[in-house]
């Protein structure tokens, strides 16, 4: 799962791979447009539905947070 998430990030936002901070969205590493593309790709690849309530800065604060979100949604599915 982690590899696939990293592949998606590499395709849409390479900078996210090297980012080590705690707020990618606020620091402009990842914009809302890219978030939408990443969410859409994650939904397709993992066959999950990411509700708007999960699309918050905290779940996209860095690559680990995105992986954690996917892991949680896969468990819930």
């Amino acid at each position: 799962m982690e590899e696939k998430v990293l592949e998606i990030l590499e395709e849409y936002c390479e900078e996210a791979l090297d980012y080590v901070g705690e707020n990618m969205m606020e620091e402009g590493v990842i914009d809302s447009f890219t978030v939408i593309n990443i969410v859409s790709e994650l939904e397709d690849v993992f066959d999950i539905e990411i509700d708007a309530k999960y699309v918050v800065a905290d779940n996209f604060r860095n690559k680990e947070a995105i992986m954690e979100l996917v892991r949680r949604l896969l468990e819930e599915a």
């Binding site: 402009g28 914009d31 809302s32 447009f33 978030v35 939408i36 593309n37 969410v39 859409s40 790709e41 990411i50 509700d51 708007a52 309530k53 699309v55 918050v56």
Partner: protein, 526 residues
């Protein structure tokens, strides 16, 4: 009662003193009373709309919370996965219906009030009403701060529904969240979880906090009175009355100054609001992060009116994209255009957000065009972003200081062109200004007559000086320096020299009315 008025300062001092005298558990009551006094007596507001919106949000929040709890209980009683899914969907559907009903009602009131004031003169002219739009009537149909508290209340209802916060059980505390007096007229937009956390924690008086709050308030007043209102003397003369006779060079100066005016006015208000709040030990979210240092329009809007941008992003854009309709559009687009289709939902969401942002800012076609303009630029630049790297390589462009300056200048030009639209009184005037800028620049005439528009040579020189000071502070902040703390830790003569200097400039050169009152803030009209 503007923030810069004796009435406000008296309200501030009294509520500040009482706030730290009462037990910490009762501090919110002082703020609630101060907010009510500011709204009703200070600003002459009729709180009917606020009470209605607040009551709706309160009831909605309680219902959502109860529904979520009932859903949890029902799910724990289900063993089968399919049944669980059905039960969950049933609860979600009911919650969505209630939320949509609330959004339609509160946005309906907002739209009704915004457009009634605009349409009323036409209704009178057509003989459809004999009621005059007097001061009281206009306050009833256009409640003070309605744009701000409506969006804030919607955000609260969405957050409760998304389980990002718990519903408020005390109606008066919810009302305080919606009408907190430093933020009620122009924001910043508060998020319930954040502000409630601030309001609920105990606040103990410290000299340092009071000092920093007042310091920030004075800096905001400086930007408003010395910079924004001085610029208005020139810009108002050039644009007001719909005249289009000035040379293009005068319009160029006026629009550049208007860009600064809007920024000084709005960020000045924010400094004052955040400063007042800081004295109560309540930290409000920052609304500006030196937007004119932005290298792209997208970055500009991440730094300008930050809380409005995040509100639209979180509650409109993501809600739309993740909705059934948004997903359907995205899937169809991907099927039809495998390469570019992935961008379609983002493009539709961005355009929706920008058209709404335009409509939120003003009632005229100019504002819709302004929103459309930014929406198109955002979409084009975001879609083309992956190509930028390749173009830079092909053109042998290296990312240095010069390139950064070029990117900033490009952002200024884009904002400049947009500001012509919103500063011109009519679309016809905006068209004439664009024409004058392109075909009738008359540089020589502009230089000779620039002081004929309400701002003398002394005024320009003073403006230049204070803008340099503002720029210096901004550059230091941009480099990560905490100017306020650095100044506070300077040796006493230097520190107080700076404070007295700013205070003197403010008192001597600020643009005041008859009794040291001030002109209204620009963003108050949005």
């Amino acid at each position: 009662m503007q923030l810069i008025s004796s009435g406000f300062v008296i309200l501030w001092i009294i509520s500040f003193a009482l706030y730290y005298l009462v037990p910490v558990k009762r501090q919110w009551i002082i703020l609630a009373v101060a907010s009510a006094v500011f709204y009703v007596i200070g600003m002459g507001g009729v709180p009917l709309g606020l009470l209605f919106t607040g009551a709706g949000a309160y009831a909605c929040g309680i219902y959502l919370q109860q529904s979520l709890a009932a859903q949890g209980r029902a799910l724990s009683e289900c063993a089968e996965k399919e049944k669980k899914k059905m039960v969950k969907q049933g609860f979600e559907r009911r919650r969505k219906r209630v939320q949509i009903l609330y959004f339609v009602c509160s946005l309906g009131i907002l739209l009704f009030t915004k457009y009634t004031v605009a349409v009323w003169p036409f209704l009178q002219e057509a003989g459809l009403t004999t009621l005059g739009m007097d001061a009281f009537f206009s306050r009833v149909v256009m409640p003070l701060g309605i744009s701000f508290y409506t969006l804030t209340a919607i955000g609260y209802v969405v957050d409760v529904g998304r389980e990002q916060c718990e519903a408020q059980k005390n109606f008066l505390q919810l009302l305080l969240f919606l009408s907190y007096f430093p933020a009620i007229t122009q924001g910043p937009f508060n998020r319930y979880a954040k502000l409630q956390g601030e309001l609920e924690r105990p606040h103990v008086f410290t000299y340092e906090r009071m000092f920093f709050g007042v310091q920030r308030f004075v800096w905001g007043a400086f930007k408003k009175l010395v910079i924004a209102d001085r610029i208005n003397l020139f810009v108002g003369n050039v644009f007001d009355g719909g005249e289009t006779a000035a040379p293009g060079s005068i319009y160029a100066v006026a629009v550049v100054l208007y860009m600064l005016q809007l920024y000084a006015d709005f960020s000045g208000y924010m400094d004052m609001a955040l400063g007042v709040s800081e004295t109560f030990d309540i930290m409000l979210p920052e609304n500006f992060r030196r937007p004119y240092f932005s290298r792209s329009v997208a970055e500009f809007w991440r730094r300008w009116h930050i809380t409005l941008g995040t509100w639209f992003k979180d509650y409109v854009m993501f809600s739309f994209v993740m909705s059934g309709a948004g997903r359907k559009i995205g899937k169809n687009a991907k099927k039809r255009w495998p390469k570019l289709g992935k961008h379609v939902t983002g493009i539709v969401g961005t355009m929706l957000v920008w058209l709404l942002t335009g409509a939120w800012h003003g009632r005229t076609v100019s504002y819709l065009l302004w929103g459309l303009y930014y929406g198109v630029i955002m979409c084009v630049s975001l879609v083309l972003e992956p190509q930028y790297g390749q173009w830079k390589e092909k053109l042998h462009i290296k990312e240095g200081k010069l390139f950064a300056l070029f990117c900033m200048a490009r952002t200024w030009v884009i904002v400049f062109l947009a500001d012509v639209l919103i500063r011109s009184e009519t679309l016809v005037q905006a068209g004439a200004v664009y024409r004058a800028l392109l075909l009738d620049f008359r540089l020589g005439e502009g230089i000779l007559t620039v002081t004929d528009y309400g701002l003398s040579l002394y005024g320009f020189l003073l403006l230049f000086g204070v803008c340099l000071l503002w720029l210096a502070v901004s550059v230091l902040e941009e480099r990560g320096k905490d100017v306020r703390r650095a100044l506070a830790s300077c040796p006493m003569p230097l520190r107080w020299g700076c404070y007295y200097g700013v205070a003197l400039i403010l008192l001597i050169t600020g643009i005041y009315g008859g009794s040291y009152d001030t002109a209204a803030f620009l963003y108050q009209s949005f």
